[in-house]
């Protein structure tokens, strides 16, 4: 028996760690990983509420979110590689092409 509050608390903390990583890290790869972490926190909530309400929709949508995460990471890593070719760095503060 899992208490729903425990699920919500852990998913909240995972999401906060993800947000903190996106905000304070400078490495584009680590930022992408933090985005994945946030998607996983959302998935935890989906599954917890699916279990709570006895419906399978939450689990189906968690699977869809997993697919979206895979698509997103493919595009994101391609962007990182392209950026590394052009600018020879993956540190986000070195990338200031649009700064006037």
């Amino acid at each position: 028996m899992v208490n729903l509050n425990v699920v919500l608390l852990i998913s909240f903390l995972l999401f906060s760690i993800g947000i903190a990583g996106v905000l304070i890290r400078r490495n584009a790869l680590v930022i992408l990983m933090c985005v994945e972490l946030m998607l996983n926190a959302a998935n935890l909530n989906f599954i917890a509420f699916a279990r709570h309400s006895g419906s399978v929709s939450g689990q189906a949508f968690a699977l869809l979110v997993m697919g979206f995460a895979a698509a997103e990471v493919a595009v994101g890593l391609a962007l990182v590689v392209a950026l590394y070719r052009k600018r020879d760095t993956v540190q986000v503060d070195d990338i200031n092409l649009l700064k006037g």
Binding site: V7, L8, F12, C34, H52, V56, A74
Partner: protein
């Protein structure tokens, strides 16, 4: 001893959750990108354990396959390609003090707002507990994959098809973005 095992079994979710939090913290705190990827892998495996302890067996296995098998390997390859950079990270963290403090305060307020009944409420109503009797009709515990597939292919067929188109677009986009410009 049996009592200990029983306690562990009942709190499996919390154990896996705390381990996932530790992995995530290691991920954002470590200086080298490879260590970050390893922390990410650990966190993902622990989240898969959380899924399993919530009786979402199919999703737990899919999580292990997709993340540990696919995404982490992809990340490791890109780290190998990219991290030879001469420009190293000068400081790992980038703290913009005033905004950071404001964001932390807002986050803490949101946390208290959401969880105040859990933390302070002595008079809180009974805790929300996952209700197995509602999931009984689905037979989630025994035929999880069957139940998920019924949801996915009967009720949510359109989102599923849209997702397949999105994956195709992402595939083409990744190839176009990452290819060398020697046409």
């Amino acid at each position: 001893m049996e009592h200990l095992f029983e306690t562990i079994g009942r709190n499996m979710f919390a154990i896996f959750g705390v381990m996932a939090l530790c992995g995530a913290a290691f991920m954002i705190a470590s200086r080298s990108a490879v260590h970050s990827v390893l922390g990410f892998l650990f966190a993902m495996l622990c989240v898969a354990g959380c899924f399993l302890s919530m009786e979402a067996e199919f999703l737990g296995m899919a999580q292990i396959l997709v993340y540990a098998g696919g995404i982490v390997v992809l990340f490791l390859f890109v780290v190998m390609l990219v991290e030879m950079s001469k420009k190293k990270e000068k400081e790992v963290f980038q703290l913009q003090s005033r905004y950071a403090v404001a964001a932390v305060l807002i986050g803490a307020a949101a946390f208290v707002g959401v969880f105040r009944k859990v933390i302070f409420g002595a008079s809180s109503p009974e805790a929300l507990v996952l209700r197995p009797e509602l999931a009984q009709g689905l037979d989630v515990a025994h035929q999880n994959a069957q139940a998920v597939s019924r949801g996915l292919f009967a009720d949510y067929l359109l989102p599923f098809e849209i997702l397949s188109v999105i994956l195709l677009v992402a595939l083409v986009g990744a190839v176009v973005l990452a290819k060398t410009e020697r046409v």
